[in-house]
């Protein structure tokens, strides 16, 4: 039975393949007699209008097929990237954060990421995409794409000429999902779920959308590719994603206050194993995040892929090495945290720098974020529970500034003069001013995150109350917020 089915499928595939092939074959019947004659006899015959017309239509057909094939390759890659970035949130971030909290809060922590996969998608469809990517003013997009009207399979050449706009929209959605999810790390183990959801809806409209529009949207104030006034190089979201979420996370941690018992009571991670799995998924998913930001299956995507991987590697060594020197042992948690820090820092730089610069950026982030988390945090005494600021805020800032140092036109010729000549991009390339522009972009991100998140936190606190009562926090969020226990191992 199986062999017959296989043979039938094979036969159908052959017939299916033969069909288009037959359709694509040239149609000699419409050609003139001269073209149909054997080659040797055709020398003396003049080319008729029929010849030229059929040649023209053939060339046009081939051009269309080439464009279609090109688009097919780009679209296949971009859809795969969109899936990879979603995987970074669920289960990547969910596991990474879930393993770091105490057992009684594991489900609540994972639920925060998962709920955003659902909620932000709806917000994005209703008005989020439009506010980010429709033309508007330098600070925010318009409402022309509300409910995704006009977002079809036709490309938007301003953003990506070879893929459907719908692909671009859904790819960007995955960024809009993971960015607020990162914030949950700083306020782990004490946030009220309902208030958090309200916070996230408002935050994605008031902080994320303006930032994304300014850096990536047409007409955006900071857009380096589309003529922004202060061109900030941010390939995949160092400012839009990591600084905005990391700094907002710091504000949230300060607003919420410390967890009950912090810092005296020991609160070690209940499962570094889960965090490990999450971190590995983040590393792999990040190829979709950074290389996919090339918006095409191109040499630039390859370059970003390589830079991403190299930065993760050197950052791992940086953090683990710093720990080894300071504590006498390299920890697994340190190694995976280092990798994440490197990936954060390379995010804005990934499509602008070469592999050697990526190693340097990764190392700087690995060591820098380790010091942030291990010394600076303790000194100031705030409870950024899962180091969302220490890794994303600090790593994003380091990466965004270093992008201005290491960006090269030989990697990505993003600046041209009026005659079309390629201009230097970063400091080492010959354009020292770019570091200043990067700082402007970084400063705007910081200010928007600080002001926006504090305003939204106040609103949510007044309307619902952002923190759970102390008894609930002590008992655990899984039971009190969700009525579940993560592990029923005695059952």
């Amino acid at each position: 039975m199986r062999k017959r089915q296989a043979a039938a499928v094979f036969l159908m595939l052959v017939l299916a393949g033969a069909g288009p092939l037959a359709a694509q074959a040239p149609a000699p019947q419409s050609a003139s007699p001269a073209a149909a004659a054997p080659a040797g006899a055709a020398h003396g015959a003049a080319a008729s209008d029929g010849d030229l017309a059929s040649l023209r239509s053939k060339v046009a057909q081939l051009e269309q097929q080439t464009a279609d094939a090109h688009s097919a390759g780009d679209n296949a890659w971009m859809l795969a990237c969109a899936a990879l970035v979603l995987m970074m949130t669920g289960p990547g971030l969910a596991l990474f954060y879930g393993g770091l909290v105490r057992k009684k809060n594991v489900l609540a922590t994972m639920m925060q990421s998962f709920a955003l996969m659902a909620v932000i998608t709806v917000v994005w469809a209703v008005v989020g995409y439009s506010l980010c990517f429709h033309s508007g003013n330098p600070f925010i997009g318009g409402t022309g794409y509300t409910l995704l009207h006009g977002v079809t399979s036709a490309p938007d050449p301003d953003y990506a000429a070879t893929i459907p706009q719908q692909t671009f929209m859904v790819y960007q959605l995955m960024f809009a999902i993971i960015t607020p999810a990162l914030i949950t790390g700083s306020i782990a183990e004490r946030a009220r779920f309902s208030a958090l959801m309200l916070f996230m809806v408002l935050w994605s409209l008031i902080v994320y959308a303006p930032m994304a529009h300014m850096v990536w949207g047409k007409g955006g104030l900071l857009n380096a590719s589309l003529g922004g006034k202060f061109p900030t190089l941010d390939f995949a979201g160092g400012t839009v994603v990591h600084i905005s979420s990391g700094v907002s996370a710091l504000m949230a941690a300060l607003y919420f206050g410390k967890r009950v018992g912090y810092p005296k009571q020991p609160m070690p991670p209940h499962s570094v194993v889960l965090s490990f799995i999450g971190a590995c998924l983040l590393w792999v998913g990040w190829f979709g995040f950074n290389a996919g930001s090339a918006l095409a299956a191109s040499g630039l995507a390859t370059s970003a892929f390589v830079a991403t991987h190299f930065a993760a590697a050197s950052a791992t060594i940086g953090w683990a090495g710093a720990e080894w020197i300071r504590n006498g042992k390299p920890s697994v948690l340190g190694a995976i945290s280092g990798a994440v820090a490197g990936l954060v820092a390379i995010t804005p730089a990934s499509g602008f720098v070469g592999p050697r610069a990526a190693l340097a950026i990764g190392l700087a982030a690995g060591v820098g974020c380790y010091l942030m988390v291990a010394t600076v945090k303790a000194k100031f005494g705030y409870d950024d529970s899962l180091d969302a600021f220490g890794v994303h805020g600090a790593g994003g800032t380091i990466g965004a500034v270093l992008t201005g140092v290491f960006a090269r036109s030989s990697v990505n010729p993003v600046f041209h003069d009026n005659a079309g000549k390629v201009l230097p991009v970063g400091l080492l390339d010959g354009n020292a001013g770019q570091v200043w522009n990067q700082c402007i972009g970084v400063a705007i991100a910081w200010v928007l995150a600080i002001v926006g998140s504090l305003v939204i936190l106040k609103i949510c606190d007044l309307v619902i109350g952002v923190r759970v009562p102390e008894e609930d926090e002590v008992e655990g969020l899984d039971v009190t917020q969700h009525g579940e226990e993560g592990y029923n191992l005695e059952a």
Binding site: P266, P268, S331, A374, D387
Partner: protein
């Protein structure tokens, strides 16, 4: 009837179990516990924060045997559980007032 409670190193449990079996002792209850006597714990570090782990994992065995077998059990445990280092554990002996088999309500030494 005598109850023998032994808190031993987890790594010695298999050896103790075999020794008791060889002595003809059947029936015991085993629990995973944490604790310490004079043995120091260790420090773990997560993201720069130190946590001192004072309570160490150990294994607890509980056996109830006829009085005449108590010394056999104690000898078997002492021989097989001992490593000679601090942290080997302790044995506690107590008197049991009654033992009852749930299946058929037998009482006394017959129930052991």
């Amino acid at each position: 009837m005598t109850k023998i409670e032994a808190i031993i190193q987890t790594s010695r449990f298999e050896a103790v179990k075999d020794a008791l079996k060889e002595s003809g002792i059947e029936g015991m209850t085993v629990t995973d516990v944490r604790g310490h006597g004079r043995q120091k714990g260790h420090t773990e570090v997560y993201r720069g924060r130190e946590y001192s782990m004072d309570l160490l994992p150990k294994t607890k065995l509980e056996l109830v045997v006829p009085d005449r077998l108590a010394e056999t059990v104690i000898e078997a445990i002492l021989k097989s559980a001992r490593t000679g280092k601090i942290g080997d554990g302790k044995i506690f002996i107590s008197r049991v007032d009654e033992a009852i088999r749930i299946r058929n309500a037998e009482r006394g030494e017959d129930a052991l």
